[in-house]
Structures are given as structure tokens and as C-alpha cells.
């Protein structure tokens, strides 16, 4: 089954390009550590999911590119076609002349209704090229105006028009210290709207990706391209083909469905995060070897302590002891930093993958009481290595990991809202104070729900 990707705004388009490039490079990589036949099956599966074929053999990304001003799309299209290996469809773009001005209200109330029809038509054309549709992957940022506002509008349209298809929104969580001054307003409006119309929100935080670039990749002058490439690597390790079960002989067919079935079982809990291990520069990769035991131990602790990468992990954080506390005594393990999970999915790729022991992830102490590890935990194992990493593990998790960042954004937006600063820019385009209040209410609910897991 295929995934149709919707790249929205500057962020969405810049990232989308890196993701397709990473997927393509990996599927054509010679160091798959598997048989030729295996590799071909992998390539074919990747292709079915993400690329369609053109007459002269150059694969075309299953994507629709949308932006309200032309510069980024032009750049994205030319970068893709310059590579010569894959490209975007000639008529898969929708562009306007003037951007959304970082104004969520403009993206949602002006651009949305004005251009929804054209955009939905493009999406329909892309859907028709698929033999079978797994769903939609919408790449967008929360901080700006187009990705966020128009993104929210289009997602709602997708819900109406393709009510049987799955939608996953990939959201860029902006740096804590501003890229955009009104980013907190734009973020709360985006999140609250998406929570109602999307099936899952897969979040990547700029701050986390930045640290990975600095500490693990050792990049001195970090550019957005570097950040996007780390992101693309993480997404690739999740979305590239995997086997369905132990001993299965074919790749999973429904990437989005399988992902969501495991991870998003309750409509109140839709926030997903990705962790990947190991992550390093290609240069260092050549000199490194790992054991599954070591990798999984680190990955588990990254989950428990809410670490974004394998360096600087806090090993003191432990899950609470299972069983009821002795009456009259306080529970011995009070762990304010413990990151409780609702559901986890571990994806392993590479050498000797069958020997990997994931017992640590099946510990009931990691999960909420109302969903035991039998339902909450899943694993997918694939021999074919990813992106030249002899062994790599990805963790997609529905956990408390975003509680603090979300709480922070809501808090800052609330403070700003109390002073009424910038509100006139939103009411100008039909987003009233009530809409803000609705968003605040919904998100406080989400924060509370996750806190009480």
C-alpha cells in the first residue's frame, strides 16, 4: 500500500525533500547485508510505498507540494531533479505568490478556503496513482503560517473527503527560543485543530535534532539541512519496509495502519515521538560496532528518562516498582522524571536481528496500568540494514515525552494571550479570542491526560 505525502510550507517542503532522498538512497544502498533477492524485495516495497514510476524510469515521489509563495518549492523541485535519481511530479505542486505571513489565521481562514479545492484535486490525482492507499503523511511546522494554518485546514478536509483513510501529521516542534515570535499562538491553534481531525501526530523537536547534530554528528556550523537530514534518517528508519512477524517472508503492507494500530489506541492520546540509535556521522560509522544488547539497553533508558539521544542519558531514572505500596508508607520509588509509556514500537534492522532480546521493553512497569505490555508493546525485525548502519533500532513511542514542552508552549501562549498581544493580527482574519480559549482548553486536557497516565 502507498503513502501520499503532503509537503506544506517552507519547513514541510525542505524536510519532505530530505525524507524522499533518504528513503531512495537507502533503498538503493548496496550495503544491505542481505541477499540480492531480499534487497530487491525491499526496494520494491519502498517504491510501492513512496514512489511511482515514470516512462523513462525515473521514480516520482508520491507527493504533493504546497506553499503560498514560490521560492522554496522552486528550490525543492530543482534539487530533486538535479540529483537525477528521483524527482517530483511536474504537476504535483500548488503555489501562490504571497505567503501566509506567519499568521495561522491567514493560513487557515484565507488560504485554506481559497485554495482547498485545487489542493484536494492534486491530492486526488496522487491517490489515483496508488493501487492501494495506506493513508496520508502530512509534513508541516507549527510555528509558521502556511504549514500550520493551511495544514490544519487541509487535514480537516482530508478527514471529510477521505474518511476511511489514515492521516498522520508530522509536526516540527520549533526551537524554544523563537524562530517566530507568534510561534506559541500558531502552535496551540495547530495542535488543537489537528487533535480533532488527525489520527496521529508524529513530533520532531528542533532543539532535540539540533543537539544530535552538535553532540553525535559533531557538526560545527549546523544548518537546517543538517537538521533535516537527521530527521529524515529517523523517519526512514521507521517507514522503510519491515517484516510483519518473526519468521515472516514478506514485508508489511500497511505502514501507516500498522503503526497506528499499535500506537494510537485511544483518541485522547495521539502524540508520538521517534528515537533512533545509533546516530553518528558517516565517518564515525566506519569505525563503530555495536551489540544489540548494548543498543537496546540505551534505547530503553532513553525511553524511560526521556532522553533524545544516546549521549548524556540519565541512568538514575528508574520505572516505579510494580505492585501496590505498603499501606501507611510512601511508595519508595518516586520518580518525577520517569517517562511513562502508553504504547511502544521498536523497529530493529540489520545483522543478527533475530538474536536481539527485547525483554526490557516488556516490563509492565514501563506502561500505564490499563494497557499491559502484551497490547502496549510491539516489535518489528528486519534483516536488511538501514542506511549503512550494520545495526539500527528505532523506537516510536506514545508516552509522556511531550508533556513538558507542550506545557511550556501552552504556558507561554497563555501569558501572551493575557496581555492580548498580537491578537489583532488573528481577529483580522476571523480567529477570535474564543477560538484561542477553545484551543487552550483542549490542550490543557491533553496535558492533564498524559500527566495522569
Amino acid at each position: 500500500m502507498s503513502i501520499v505525502t503532503l509537503q506544506l510550507g517552507q519547513s514541510g517542503n525542505q524536510i519532505g525533500f530530505e525524507v524522499f532522498d533518504a528513503l531512495f538512497s537507502d533503498s538503493h544502498c548496496s550495503q544491505g547485508l542481505c541477499s540480492k533477492r531480499e534487497n530487491e524485495a525491499y526496494q520494491a516495497s519502498c517504491k510501492e510505498r513512496f514512489f511511482s514510476e515514470e516512462e523513462n524510469g525515473v521514480p516520482i515521489a508520491r507527493a504533493v507540494l504546497v506553499d503560498m509563495e514560490p521560492k522554496v518549492i522552486n528550490q525543492t523541485l530543482s534539487k530533486a531533479s538535479q540529483s537525477g535519481r528521483w524527482k517530483y511530479g511536474q504537476r504535483s505542486c500548488f503555489c501562490q505568490k504571497q505567503g501566509s505571513g506567519n499568521n495561522w489565521a491567514y493560513g487557515y481562514s484565507v488560504h485554506g478556503p481559497r485554495h482547498a479545492e485545487s489542493i484536494m484535486n492534486l491530492i486526488q490525482k496522487e491517490v489515483e496513482k496508488c493501487d492501494s492507499l495506506s493513508g496520508f503523511f502530512i509534513v508541516m511546522s507549527m510555528a509558521g503560517g502556511t504549514g500550520s494554518g493551511l495544514g490544519a485546514f487541509i487535514t480537516r478536509n482530508l478527514q471529510d473527503q477521505y474518511s476511511n483513510s489514515l492521516k498522520m501529521n508530522h509536526i516540527i516542534w520549533p526551537y524554544g527560543t523563537g524562530e517566530v515570535i507568534v510561534q506559541n499562538y500558531n502552535s496551540i491553534l495547530t495542535l488543537s485543530h489537528l487533535y480533532r481531525s488527525s489520527d496521529a501526530l508524529l513530533v520532531h523537536e528542533n532543539d532535540a535534532l539540533h543537539k544530535i547534530c552538535a553532540k553525535l554528528m559533531n557538526i560545527k556550523q549546523i544548518s537546517f539541512r543538517d537538521i533535516n537530514q537527521v530527521l529524515a534518517h529517523q523517519l526512514g528508519s521507521v517507514f522503510q519496509p519491515t517484516y510483519s512477524e518473526e519468521g515472516s517472508s514478506h514485508y508489511r503492507r500497511n505502514p501507516l495502519g500498522d503503526l497506528m494500530e499499535n500506537l494510537v489506541s485511544h483518541p485522547e492520546f495521539k502524540l508520538l515521538g521517534v528515537r533512533n540509535i545509533p546516530q553518528m556521522s558517516e565517518h564515525s560509522l566506519a569505525y563503530s560496532t555495536f551489540t544489540w544488547a548494548g543498543l537496546l539497553k540505551h534505547l530503553r533508558q532513553m525511553l524511560i528518562s526521556n532522553a533524545k539521544m544516546e549521549e548524556g542519558i540519565d541512568w538514575q531514572v528508574r520505572p516505579p516498582l510494580s505492585g501496590a505500596p505498603t499501606p501507611g508508607k510512601m511508595p519508595v520509588n518516586k520518580n518525577p522524571h520517569f517517562n511513562k509509556s502508553l504504547a511502544n514500537l521498536v523497529i530493529l534492522r540489520g545483522k543478527e536481528v533475530h538474536s536481539a532480546d527485547l525483554g526490557g521493553f516488556k516490563d509492565p512497569a514501563l506502561y500505564t496500568s490499563w494497557l499491559g505490555p502484551d497490547n502496549a508493546f510491539n516489535m518489528w525485525k528486519t534483516q536488511r540494514a538501514f542506511n549503512k548502519y550494520e545495526k539500527s533500532a528505532a523506537l516510536v513511542s506514545n508516552s509522556q515525552f511531550l508533556v513538558k514542552p507542550l506545557d511550556m508552549i501552552v504556558g507561554k501562549a497563555w501569558n501572551m494571550f493575557a496581555s492580548k498581544a498580537y491578537i489583532h493580527q488573528y481577529t483580522k482574519f476571523g480567529i477570535e479570542e474564543e477560538d484561542f480559549l477553545d484551543s487552550f482548553t483542549l490542550l490543557e486536557q491533553v496535558v492533564a491526560s498524559y500527566r495522569n497516565l
Binding site: 517552507q10 525542505q14 509563495e69 514560490p70 521560492k71 522554496v72 528550490q75 505568490k97 504571497q98 505567503g99 501566509s100 505571513g101 506567519n102 499568521n103 503560517g145 526551537y175 524554544g176 527560543t177 523563537g178 524562530e179 517566530v180 515570535i181 507568534v182 539540533h210 547534530c213 552538535a214 557538526i219 560545527k220 556550523q221 549546523i222 544548518s223 537546517f224 539541512r225 537538521i227 501552552v410 504556558g411 507561554k412 497563555w414 501569558n415 501572551m416 493575557a418 496581555s419 492580548k420 498581544a421 498580537y422 489583532h424 493580527q425 487552550f440 482548553t441 490543557e444 486536557q445 492533564a448 491526560s449 495522569n452
Partner: protein, 475 residues
């Protein structure tokens, strides 16, 4: 991509405008080596086939034939505009986009605003409509004028109302030259205050600039250029003050160097909208992020570096110096000290080979020494444009919505009151039809209200920051 139209009004406005067009051409020539008329150029220039009679047929794509500035030149004296039309830029201007008169406004806002306003309203509208028609998607009007005189001040602000009524969706960015203390026009305080009221009510964003600051910057540059210190050879084209005649040591006209600074400001302001980058910033994002309340739309600007030293490799220390300088009071284009006042919002627009990590490192470094209003502690808007200005490897334009504009306004009000109390020169104004004393009192009230807003914000500076109680939800 969108287009912008520059409306240059009065002597000062036209002189600055002239410098701006010269620099804009140079910049596009440097970036656009193949001579193709692309979207970046189209933001400020039309491509015209001069063989076609009349209007000159517009050529939307392809090779550059003849570039015409998207400009409207207005002056009630002929001197400056005539000079422009006889100078090296004469072919850049469309001769039909001019409005001139002979007598001048006599440094009288009322003459500019009321007399010439009504006299030329139709013509102004016609020229503006024409220039808008030539645009595929008009986003912004840039008005350049001075506040102290009669034409720029009076007619320039009359224009704002016309623009607001006729093109309500198009942004109005005003670059205003404020008179310095030793201004030789006695009535400049009157003109400025009367103009301020219009700016308060009809401008989307104002970039106040004063001559004294520009002059101080020139002096600083001269010191370095002429000091002849070893190892401090300055690249000639890299001066923020340089123009076509950059190879000459002394500028021919006294104000050229100063005007070029303002011209560079406008170029840098629009660079991220015209050229590509990893974090674009369009013009509509400027007012969205920097104007938290409609009345508080005055942005203090600073440009760095002022010059590039001849040694080529810029280690990050120098890059960091560029960021530090942007916040020093010596680099601001008005007499202001943002570091010791309160920030409502700050934009950093970077050009050249600078990456997000450089930007973030410097924000982290400088943040502790700056004070932001409690509800906007992370009030930073940033942009990265890949294309540096001509002669530089990178540059930074900082725009601050900061209470440090208050002293400028208060001083202006004081100078105004000194004259007004004695009713000095008032009759020159009151004898103009439509002018009454209430115009003056309303204007000064409007300014006082604005000053009051800034004062109230300043008062919050030393208050402890409290997090407001959040909504409680049932779980």
C-alpha cells in the same frame, strides 16, 4: 513572489530613493549574472521593451531588456527630481511616474498636506494605480520621506491615507527621517508632530531614522578608513555607505554616504523576501511578528557590519562581533539605546553564509543582557537569506520594537511645545485652509498617548514576572 512599490516624496525622500535604486541595481547585477529577468528582480523592477511606443510593453520573463523601477517620485520642487532624471539613473525611472511642482512647500506641513494634497490627489491616485497595475501581486508600499520639511512630511503623510483607502490590503512601510536637535528648519518640530499623527494612524510599520545617528556612523567609518592602521585595510565596496562612486575617496554630495545607509537598510529588509534562504522572512511577517499592538509599530533598526576588513576568512569570533554590534547604541539608526530599554520584539535578518547554529548561539549569548517584556520573553524573529549584500560575506539587520524610541518622541514633543507655547510661526500654518489649532492639539495628544503606552510598558520592566494561573480542566 510579490512586488513592492517605492514612493519617494520630497527632497530627502528622493535623494534616498535615488541611492536605493542605484544599490538595488548593483545588487541584482551581482546576483543575476545571466541577465535573466527573474522573480527576485521583478519585486522592484519591471522589464520593459523600450521599442514599444507609449507605456513600453512589459516583458514578464526572459532576458532583461530595460529595467524600470517600480517607483513613484513626488516633489513639489523640481531640483532634485530633475537632477535624478539627468543623472546616471535616468533610464531607470518611468517619466510618467513623476509628480512635480515648482514652488515647493516652504517647509510647511500644511502646504504639503492640505494644499498640494488636494491639488494633486487625483494625479497621485492615478500614478499609484498605474504602478499597482504593473504588479502581479503587490504586497507593499515603501514610502521614503523626511519629517521635518513640508513636502516629504505633509504630502508624504497625505499619501498614507490615500494608500490606506485605495489599497487597504497592501502594507505601508514608512522610512521616516526625523530632524535632529540642530536641525536648521525652525518649524521642523511642528512638521514632525503633525506628520507623526498620520504615521500613528495610517502606517503599518515605521522605521524612524535620524540624521545625527547617520552622521555619527559616517564619522566612525571615516576614522577606520582613514586611520591607515596596519592590517585594517577596508574593502572599498563593502562600506555600508558606498555607492557607484565607491572608488572615490570622498563622496561628491554631502548626504550621499548617509543616504546609502538608509538604502542598504531597505535592501536588507527585503532580501529574505526576494532571495532564497533556509529560513525565509517575507515582508508581511515583519508586521505580524514585530507589531504586538497596532499603535506600537515603530521599529528601531541597526545594520552591521559597517564595513568588511580586507582579510578574507571570517572566524566565528568576527561573526559574533557582528551580532554584538547590532545591539550597541552606536549602530542604531536613531539616537537610542535598546539594551537599556525594554524589548517588545526583535527581528534578526541575516544574510550570507551564516547558519542556524550561529544565529542561535548569538541569541543565547546576548539574551541575558537584554530585557524583554514579560509576555514575550522569547520575542525573537529570525531569518536566514543565503545571498549576502554586495561586497560582504554576511550582514545583519536588526529591527527592534523597543521602548528606546520614547526619548526621541519626547524630545520632539519638547521642541514642539517650546515653539507652540509662544505660538511661534503658527500663522503660517493657520492661514492654510483646513488648518486649525485643533490640528496641533490633536497631533500632540496623539503623540502623548503613544509616549504614555511606552511609559506603561517601561514600568513593567522591574516588576517580577508572574506566571498567570492556567485554565483548570476536569480529568
Amino acid at each position: 513572489m510579490t512586488q513592492s512599490v517605492v514612493v519617494q516624496v520630497g527632497q530627502c525622500g528622493n535623494q534616498i530613493g535615488c541611492c536605493f535604486w542605484d544599490l538595488a541595481l548593483r545588487e541584482h547585477a551581482a546576483v543575476n549574472q545571466k541577465g535573466i529577468y527573474d522573480e527576485a528582480i521583478s519585486s522592484f523592477f519591471r522589464n520593459v521593451d523600450t521599442r514599444v511606443a507609449g507605456d513600453g510593453g512589459s516583458i514578464p520573463k526572459g532576458k532583461i531588456c530595460s529595467l524600470k523601477a517600480r517607483a513613484v517620485l513626488i516633489d513639489m520642487e523640481e531640483g532634485v527630481v530633475n537632477e535624478i532624471l539627468q543623472g546616471p539613473l535616468r533610464d531607470v525611472f518611468d517619466s510618467k511616474q513623476l509628480i512635480t511642482d515648482i514652488s515647493g512647500s516652504g517647509n510647511n506641513w500644511a502646504v504639503g498636506h492640505k494644499v498640494f494634497g488636494s491639488l494633486y490627489q487625483e494625479q497621485i491616485l492615478e500614478k499609484l494605480r498605474k504602478s499597482a497595475e504593473h504588479c502581479d501581486c503587490l504586497q507593499c508600499f515603501f514610502i521614503i520621506h523626511s519629517m521635518g520639511g513640508g513636502t516629504g512630511s505633509g504630502l508624504g503623510t497625505f499619501l498614507l491615507k490615500v494608500l490606506e483607502d485605495e489599497f487597504p490590503e497592501v502594507y505601508r512601510f514608512v522610512t521616516s527621517i526625523y530632524p535632529s536637535g540642530e536641525d536648521d528648519v525652525i518649524t521642523s518640530p511642528y512638521n514632525s508632530i503633525l506628520a507623526m499623527k498620520e504615521l500613528n494612524e495610517h502606517a503599518d510599520c515605521v522605521l524612524p531614522i535620524d540624521n545625527q545617528s547617520l552622521f555619527d556612523i559616517i564619522s566612525k567609518i571615516d576614522l577606520v578608513v582613514n586611520s591607515g592602521k596596519l592590517g585594517t585595510a577596508v574593502k572599498p565596496k563593502s562600506l555600508v555607505t558606498s555607492s557607484v562612486g565607491a572608488f572615490k575617496q570622498r563622496q561628491e554630495k554631502p548626504f550621499d554616504a548617509m543616504n546609502n545607509i538608509v538604502a542598504n537598510l531597505l535592501l536588507n529588509l527585503t532580501s529574505s523576501a526576494r532571495f532564497e534562504g533556509s529560513l525565509n522572512m517575507d515582508l508581511n511577517e515583519i508586521s505580524m511578528n514585530l507589531v504586538p499592538f497596532p499603535q506600537l509599530h515603530y521599529l528601531v533598526s541597526s545594520l552591521t557590519p559597517l564595513y568588511t576588513l580586507a582579510d578574507v576568512n571570517i572566524p566565528s569570533r568576527r561573526l559574533d562581533q557582528m551580532f554584538s554590534d547590532a545591539f550597541s547604541k552606536d549602530h542604531q539608526l536613531i539616537q537610542a539605546d535598546p539594551k537599556h530599554s525594554l524589548y517588545l520584539a526583535c527581528a534578526l535578518m541575516v544574510r550570507g553564509n551564516v547558519q542556524i547554529s550561529d544565529l542561535r548561539r548569538n541569541i543565547e549569548r546576548l539574551k541575558p543582557s537584554l530585557q524583554f517584556v514579560s509576555w514575550n520573553q522569547e520575542g525573537w524573529k529570525t531569518s536566514l537569506c543565503s545571498v549576502p549584500p554586495v561586497g560582504h560575506s554576511h550582514s545583519l539587520l536588526a529591527l527592534a520594537n523597543n521602548t528606546c524610541v520614547k526619548p526621541t518622541f519626547m524630545e520632539l514633543r519638547e521642541r514642539f511645545m517650546r515653539l507652540y507655547k509662544k505660538k511661534a510661526h503658527l500663522h503660517h500654518y493657520l492661514q492654510i485652509e483646513g488648518m486649525e489649532e485643533s490640528c496641533f492639539s490633536e497631533a500632540v495628544s496623539s503623540l502623548s498617548a503613544l509616549i504614555q503606552e511606552y511609559s506603561q510598558l517601561d514600568a513593567t520592566k522591574s516588576m517580577p514576572m508572574e506566571d498567570l494561573p492556567r485554565l483548570r480542566v476536569a480529568v
